[in-house]
Every structure is written in structure tokens, then in C-alpha cells.
Symmetry: C2
Amino acid sequence: MSENAQAIAVQNLLAGIAQAGQDEMFTPILERRGLRIERIVSHGHATPADQPYQQAEDEWVMVVEGAARLWLDGTEEVELARGDHLMIPAGVRHRVTWTTPSGPTVWLAVHFAP
Amino acid sequence: MSENAQAIAVQNLLAGIAQAGQDEMFTPILERRGLRIERIVSHGHATPADQPYQQAEDEWVMVVEGAARLWLDGTEEVELARGDHLMIPAGVRHRVTWTTPSGPTVWLAVHFAP
């Protein structure tokens, strides 16, 4: 029992999330060589128009709860609802242009070496 | 627009899922060196008691929809609800002992080199 005890450390992605009015919240879930799983909680937050993200790593992202709009350089904005997921290739500038103000938007992000 | 067009290929993890009475469904989402993201849809399925899983790779798993019970070698069973996630270390035998019969249980699994 003891040697595997850490294996049953169950956490919940929807627990302990930021309330409206707080900053956007970034919580590391798992970090390994070449891989990082992260939870992001937004409450009506958007990325400033002049500060798009641009990352050296590929990122796979899913909306687990809530709703959002995402802009990627060279594309139309996309609307994202619960369960929607997509790849954001390394180097592509992108911004969250909207998240629903009516509750938390919970993202699961997997960052990995390209 | 054209060069990043693939970047906005949005899919939904809760779409196109197996109906009750069908086999458990395994859908690859993303595969890269040392990383594999997969969706699993169960409908009351359980792993046969004499055929536990035992994998060479670490696996991080989350219940996105539904409810399940999971057994890992050397531990008590754990109950999993929506949003619950845990690490299943490489080499640890494990089984899904129950998934709710009242609807689909949708898992997100991330397999990665230990």
C-alpha cells in the first residue's frame, strides 16, 4: 500500500477556482521533461490586445467549463464552448479575446516541446 | 490566413461519443514523440478483473464527464467524479472497476514517457 500511496492523490480540476473579480489564475498540475499540464481559470478576462502570447512550445488547450473566444495570428477568432479543444502551434501569436463574464472559464493546457 | 489555417481546427471532446451498448471507445487526439493524448468513452464498462492495464508509460487521466471507480495495485479503489484527475505511474497495474451506467463517462488520458 505505502509504495503506491502517491498514485491515488486525486485532485479536481474544478475545485478551488478563483472567484469573479480575482486575477486570472494559473495552476501547475504536472511538469515533466518536455511536458507541462496547467489549469487556467478566467472570469471575463481577455489578453491585452498589445500583449499576445507567443510561446516556444506547442500548446494543446481545452475548455473544460465556461466559454471563450480565441484569436490566433492569421485566422478568424474562434468561439470555444465546453469540451472544445485545439492545438496552438509554437510561435503562433494568440490571444484570448473574451471569456464569459457569467462564471468561471476553466482551461486545461498541455504545453509540450515542438 | 492559409498558413495557420490548421491551427483553428477545433474539435469537441464531448461530440461523437459512443452510445450505451457499444464497446468502450478509444479516440486518439494528439500524438507526438513521448506524448499521446487520448479520449476514452465508457458506458458502464469495467476492465476485466483478470486483465488489468499495466503500461510502460506514465498516464495522467481526468474524468471530463460521468463517474467512475479506479483500482490501482496496492491501493484502495478511488471514486472519480467530473473534474477528478490523477497520475497512474508507469508499471502500476490498474483497472476501471466501474463506470456509471446512466450515461457516458468521458476520460481524457495523457500518456507520456516516464
